[in-house]
Symmetry: none
DNA sequence: CATCATAGTATGGTATTTTATGGTTGTCAA
DNA sequence: TTGACAACCATAAAATACCATACTATGATG
């Protein structure tokens, strides 16, 4: 199953936030009932995925030379930064404060589905980003706009 | 299985609408008993497909590369905008209000088959669109008829 | 041929469950 | 002892399951 859609949920005083029901469903066949969160490397947001995917990623890095620069980067940047957060009985997680700060999130968290992964944004930041992306997508794909001739 | 034909069904006060029986049959071999809806990027209508197709799309664009900007494209826009809606026992779905508004749909929904995907239109909008398309096709007719193969 | 029976479909209304959210208590460790 | 954190309890609103009815097409039967 995939992470689809965009849902905004409140973060309470203790940092608790409900993971959207559909997102939880996307992990229901996994061993680990929770999600993995880490800094995005390309945007001002938090990225997330399933434990299953993390394991796949780990398998992929196994193929690299142990001392290669790439492996060093992956290990230090991804695995050391990733946190596993399990759902409580009502489906909530507590997002670590440094991640919230990095993404500029305070009261509300915007969960954005991206298929195999998802992101958590400050709403204003996301809308800014999305606007840019839309423009880029249309520029790069003129074939989508009206095909005359 | 393909989405074929054009069927008009009523939307009730809660946004519920019967997905045409033939369309439901087109998903009967899938794991997920429902459809994925998202707003069209080219027309004033809702677009839909199966979860299976979404997963294929996800597999095609998923390269496990966390540093790539390449995923900032139309596909990611689709994933963040897509809603998974499962059929109830009588074969209905609830179309989210914002999608209905985007497509200008109020009381009735026109399901239009497009093979691997389908669209949901306001009937008037669709007829307008269809008229324009016919005129365009007629204008371009000479170039069409000279194209061999 | 007219009528009846049947099965699948569309549609409307109500009841139940799930979800998101807030608060309280208990526990362990610094 | 205090502060962090997990487990537990509560509730309103939203989503969904459930039930009932009407309609359609089709086929069987007298």
């Amino acid at each position: 199953m995939l992470f689809l859609g965009t849902i905004e949920n409140k973060i309470d005083a203790k940092g608790r936030v409900s993971v959207p029901s559909d997102f939880r469903m996307a992990t229901k066949n996994d061993d680990f009932q929770g999600v993995i969160l880490y800094h995005s490397f390309t945007h001002k947001c938090i990225e997330g995925c399933t434990m299953e995917r993390m394991e796949k990623l780990s398998d992929a890095t196994d193929n690299l030379d142990l001392f290669s620069e790439e492996n060093e980067n992956l290990n230090s940047l991804i695995f050391s930064d990733a946190r596993q957060l399990s759902f409580d009985v009502t489906g909530r997680i507590v997002i670590p404060a440094d991640l919230l700060e990095f993404a500029g999130i305070n009261g509300n968290a915007l969960f954005v589905g991206r298929g195999k992964t998802f992101q958590i944004w400050n709403k204003d930041e996301f809308e800014k980003y999305q606007k840019e992306t839309r423009e880029k997508a249309f520029k790069n794909r003129p074939s989508l706009s009206f095909k005359k001739d």
